[in-house]
């Protein structure tokens, strides 16, 4: 049943959620969009980050603090992953297509099953002062605090990473490595080291995003599958490697999803991101902001 109140509510929710989607996708925008690594396992790292946050929250940690603490751990994990990927595939070039994809698919699958074996298939959630409360604007429009906290953190994360890539020396080197490796090596930087660093950053950011994931709502090991669609949809929609595009694309997905959710029911929600992704691939694969 259409009503303006519902629509406005959906829009507000969508924008808040969209910012969160940008935050969970920005790591992928870096690893896949800029570095061209077929990182299908990105959503699994996200869910792993959420579970690590849950585990730390068990000791009374605040989820966001836990996420920040996990970031350096995930950074190292990301560096190791990239080193492995580089040594196994990228160094030899040619066959990285099939093998690289199968590798990350396998890794994603292993993470998911390990999470099931360790934590079981039940949903997990965390507690914090801002979870469970809401701010009531009108009777129809109540915005949960958790969504606002996640929104603020996501916005900071996304803008922070965009600034890092645009303003710092290392950030510029990361952008350069995506465009012209030869020019970069002429500048005296080692492309492999730069990529390794960038992949570390991407994974660290994913840990924080994972903390946001469990703040937003309960998490189960199979959540990664849905987020394959959401994250790749955002990255493709944005145009590969476009950081500012990632934010806009996240907002578009967030709004689209909440509108479908509001007017057609929650059971259709999973198809929104994947449907949008398919349409995008068919119509404009270079994305909204791609060249």
């Amino acid at each position: 049943m259409f009503s303006w109140d519902l629509l406005i509510g959906a829009l507000v929710f969508g924008l808040l959620l969209g910012c969160f989607y940008a935050a969970v996708s920005i790591g992928l925008s870096l690893s896949f969009g800029l570095l061209d690594v077929p990182h299908i396992a990105h959503p699994s790292f996200l869910v792993a980050g959420a579970y690590a946050t849950w585990w730390l929250a068990g000791f009374g940690w605040d989820p966001i603090l836990a996420g920040l603490f996990l970031a350096p751990v995930f950074f190292v994990l990301g560096v190791v992953m990239y080193r492995l990927y580089y040594a196994m595939f990228e160094k030899h070039g040619s066959d990285a297509g099939l093998r690289g994809l199968a590798f990350f698919f396998g890794v994603a699958f292993i993470i998911e099953v390990c999470l099931i074996l360790v934590f079981g298939v039940d949903q997990r959630l965390v507690e914090a002062v801002y979870i469970g409360k809401s701010i009531d604007f009108t009777d129809d429009l109540r915005i949960p605090m958790r969504l606002l906290v996640a929104f603020a953190a996501a916005l900071l994360l996304t803008i922070g990473l965009t600034l890092y890539l645009g303003k710092t020396y290392m950030g510029r080197a990361i952008k350069a490595v995506a465009q012209d490796q030869i020019a970069l090596s002429l500048m005296g930087a080692d492309p492999v080291k730069v990529k390794q660093w960038a992949f570390g950053i991407a994974t660290a950011v994913t840990a924080i995003a994972g903390a946001l994931l469990i703040i937003i709502g309960p998490v189960d090991p199979q959540l990664g599958r849905i987020y394959i669609g959401r994250t790749f949809c955002v990255v493709v929609l944005a145009g590969l490697g476009s950081m500012s595009g990632t934010l806009v694309a996240g907002l578009i997905l967030g709004v689209a999803e909440t509108i479908v959710l509001t007017f057609f029911g929650a059971s259709w929600a999973p198809a929104v991101a994947f449907g949008l992704l398919l349409v995008m691939l068919g119509v404009r694969p270079q994305g909204l902001f791609g060249r």
């Binding site: 297509g97 099939l98 093998r99 699958f109 390990c114 599958r225 669609g229 198809a271």
Partner: protein, 332 residues
């Protein structure tokens, strides 16, 4: 790695010998020693031979990775359900209809994403799997999330039970899938697909119609997967989206060829026999989660350590043996 012509004789013998062995084993199973467990396990392994061979036509020969085998498989099952509900169609018609529908599905995904880099095709297959599952979940006609129960009709003449009939159909399907994948490998299509896998731009420049070949491969591969899914309804007497779209089909269909070896038709067969049997044993004796973990670990292990699969390992051993005494090593 001798010339193609010389290896063809042995290749033929393996294929024909394999077919005869499978048929004999099937007859023995159907008439003699049938316990339900062995019977079901064999059915599942045969099903995986079809899925793995089908996956390999596109993934192994052309290098385009399909993550959405479950979408094709489940769509085959639901097409069969539709044919039963709508027309009360016999099994053969169900299978043909399923193959047609999933072939068209493959064509659609291919047209959208095969012009792009390989990873976009892969993502598109995941997307189609989730979108289709969501549609089925929300469609009452197909039973929605609860699923639908179906009655089996009487089996056709020579068969005394429907189980035996389904088993026989699956045997035929496995043999045809392997035959088709073998035919494609050895025909001009196979050489073109291999050129695409090695270097797509160069392939196009020496006259290979790359898009057309990739579409052919996607359609054939998709149709075979759909055909494998068609008997699902009658086999289980029940169909429900979560198990029909199970990720396990997608992972196994990809892991089996990679473990067996993607370069030849026999790789997926080896992989399916091996991994399929291990899965059946582990699921029953230990746990189904561990079974899934084993598949994942094996997949990553082979991708990293032995990218040419068991087939590649065997070949390496063979060339090492034949080159013994010859002090100089080969290439690399």
């Amino acid at each position: 790695m001798s010339g193609k012509m010389s290896s063809m004789g042995g290749n033929n013998r393996i294929f024909v010998g394999g077919c005869i062995a499978v048929v004999l084993a099937a007859i023995a199973l159907m008439t003699g020693v049938r316990t339900d467990y062995v019977f079901n396990a064999s059915y599942v392994v045969l099903q995986f031979i079809v899925l793995a061979s089908a996956w390999n036509i596109l993934g192994g020969y052309a290098g385009y990775v399909n993550f959405g085998t479950s979408a094709f498989f489940a769509m085959g099952g639901y097409t069969a359900l539709f044919m039963i509900k709508m027309f009360n169609a016999p099994l053969l018609v169900q299978i043909i209809a399923a193959a047609c529908c999933t072939g068209v599905l493959g064509l659609g995904i291919g047209l959208i994403s095969l012009r792009l880099r390989g990873i976009f095709f892969s993502i598109a297959t995941v997307a189609v799997a989730i979108v289709l599952e969501t549609v089925i979940l929300n469609t009452d006609y197909f039973g929605g999330a609860k699923g639908l129960q179906m009655m089996r009709p009487e089996p056709i003449a020579p068969f005394t039970s429907y189980d035996t009939m389904l088993f026989f159909v699956m045997v035929l399907m496995a043999i045809s899938a392997v035959a088709i994948s073998r035919y494609i490998e050895q025909s001009w299509i196979g050489r073109g697909l291999r050129a695409i896998k090695d270097n797509e731009e160069a392939a196009e420049c020496v006259g290979v119609p790359t898009l057309k070949l990739k579409l052919i491969a996607t359609v054939v591969s998709g149709a075979l997967m759909g055909a494998a899914g068609a008997p699902l309804v009658m086999y289980m007497r029940f169909i429900e989206p979560v198990s029909a779209f199970s990720l396990n089909y997608s992972v196994s269909a990809l892991a089996m060829p990679i473990i067996g070896g993607t370069s030849s038709w026999i790789g997926p067969v080896i992989g399916a026999l091996l991994l399929g049997s291990v899965q059946q044993i582990v699921t029953v004796t230990i746990s189904s989660e561990l079974n899934v973990l084993i598949v994942g670990v094996l997949l990553v292990f082979f991708v990293v350590v032995a990218p040419d699969g068991i087939l590649g390992l065997v070949r390496k051993l063979r060339t090492k043996n034949s080159a013994k005494g010859d002090a100089k090593g080969g290439a690399q």
